[in-house]
Assembly symmetry: C2
Homo-oligomer: 320 residues x 2
């Protein structure tokens, strides 16, 4: 089988789950596998275990290794894609984990690795909402604000693969304290974590708000969608929380628009599931506050379309 017809394997290493799939040239997942991994064992054991699972999966699915052109790996944290090493990952305790080397030795297949948000961005660029675009800014709104960049059609990673930390650009001098050590990072205003915190604070100030009814008076039940849901019913406090969130995120996105003037800005992660109730006011805000006014090309924000499969499909795109 010529190389440009061969299948590829995409691996998505998550905080608790490992997923991988066989992906064809059209970005379709033909078969996939997902399992929880033991976080108490070493990264070497985790990655070797992954290689063994891939070997078994290929046998079970009667796929010959000759028909696979390689394994792409998306991993959270700081990935040196040139060396194929995960330098560090807060969530995984993967320190100096030689991902590519271990997978290549265990499977006998060629492998490549990159940061998970970058990989998801690449997947969207090839087969998702970013299809046919050359320059894409990708933000994942989850626990933090992750970033991915595809520039001139390729993942942009920066020195030692440490770039695209879009959530760690500040929008407020001496603003909210960030886990990274700075103050005022976009992440502290526009992540799901920040939205939940802001919702809870607004509730404490407004005992009359319907937000309380929505969570059955249990503030611990507040999630990223709480404010959006209650705002749609017309609750003043919830509307204010949502509007502030749109303002923070909108200002952050406008920064990236002025810096990159990309073809599109894509949003993934938990908060992006709000769909139109997030995207429509965001696009309105951005149109209004856009630099260069009439002369500047309009850049739109859209939801990433590959959802949970973005990791596997994107990782497979690392392989030619």
């Amino acid at each position: 089988m010529p190389n440009n017809e061969k299948l590829k394997i995409g691996v998505d290493i998550g905080g608790t789950n490992l997923k991988f799939g066989i992906v064809n040239r059209e970005g379709k997942i033909l078969a996939k596998c997902s399992y929880k991994f033991d976080k108490t064992i070493s990264s070497t054991e985790v990655v070797k275990g992954l290689g063994i699972e891939i070997n078994k999966f290929l046998v079970t699915n009667k796929i010959d290794k000759k028909d696979i052109s390689g394994i792409g790996i998306g991993c959270p944290g700081s990935i040196d894609s040139t060396k194929g090493i995960c330098d560090y990952s807060n969530n995984l305790k993967f320190n100096n984990a030689p991902l590519v080397d271990l997978i290549e030795k265990t499977t006998g297949l060629k492998a490549k690795a990159a940061n998970d948000a970058n990989v998801a961005c690449l997947g969207e660029a090839r087969f998702g909402s970013g299809k046919n675009y050359q320059n894409i800014v990708f933000l994942t709104l989850g626990t933090g604000v992750g970033g991915g960049l595809v520039l001139n059609g390729k993942i942009y990673e920066g020195k030692d693969g440490k770039g695209a930390e879009l959530g760690h650009s500040i929008i407020e001098l001496n603003g909210r304290k960030c886990t990274c050590g700075r103050r005022g990072c976009l992440e502290t205003y526009a992540s799901a974590t920040a939205l939940i915190k802001d919702t809870k604070e607004a509730m404490k100030k407004h005992p009359e708000s319907h937000l309380w009814n929505y969570v059955e008076n249990d503030i611990d039940k507040v999630g990223a969608k709480t404010a959006f849901s209650v705002a749609s019913e017309g609750d003043k406090t919830a509307i204010e929380v949502v509007n502030n969130f749109i303002y923070y995120l909108g200002e952050g996105i406008l920064n990236f628009i002025n810096i990159f003037k990309p073809d599109i800005v894509l949003l993934g992660g938990g908060v992006s599931y709000q769909g139109d109730s997030l995207i429509n006011p965001l696009n309105e805000y951005i149109k209004k506050a856009h630099y260069g006014f009439g002369d500047s090309p309009k850049v739109s924000v859209a939801v990433a379309s590959l959802g949970n499969d973005a990791g596997i499909i994107g990782a497979s795109c690392l392989i030619d």
Copy 2:
């Protein structure tokens, strides 16, 4: 003469001056010409006039057009480099000016055009402080804060050549009013204009400051270097102005470091002439507030080295 030995012409269109030079393959200017142009005439006349000047200059210097591989043009404002058009330029009133077309017709030589800050960044990347680096963030600290990006060894321009507006990313929500319409843009804190304004305001609050002596009690004499000069003499007010400026610029640069993780950040424009008294405290601040701490590669800030020639040399780099 084979193409890779031919000379090139670099053009630097400024606010009031037009400069061009014959540049060799090593980035050396062999001969140059500079003249003021009439800002009341149309952009077509300006650019045609430039073509005629180039023709004359080649004759005077006995250079055969066969030995020139092309003309690169750096122009302020919004340049569509694919079409070779200056869409708009605040300073020049160049609206939809077909730079490349006019120059090619007048000279019979091939031409290319790009934004002046991008072109200066490219020059620094090939022959200046950014030599041998692949990823460079370039900031010009002048009337505004201009931006240039070389990513993966090439100018990054974004959609319709409108990207790299680095000065128009905010560092303060609802902060200082910017000419672009937004509030809190880096430009309103870290340009020469902002530094002069902050120096004047500090003087008004502190009639005892030596800043007054330095400008002979004439506040209109305050320039971008005033605060730096007086701070070096130990004046408290001047030191505070300088420290604030370092803080603002440092936070802005840290944003770009986290976004791009470039090989180097280069500073040009008026304020950069302060040299070490600007660069040393900036690098200290950045080392302290760096994201990722020990694990992240250190990124340094340096002064661009081509100075006034960056425009001509950089523009010539647009030509192969």
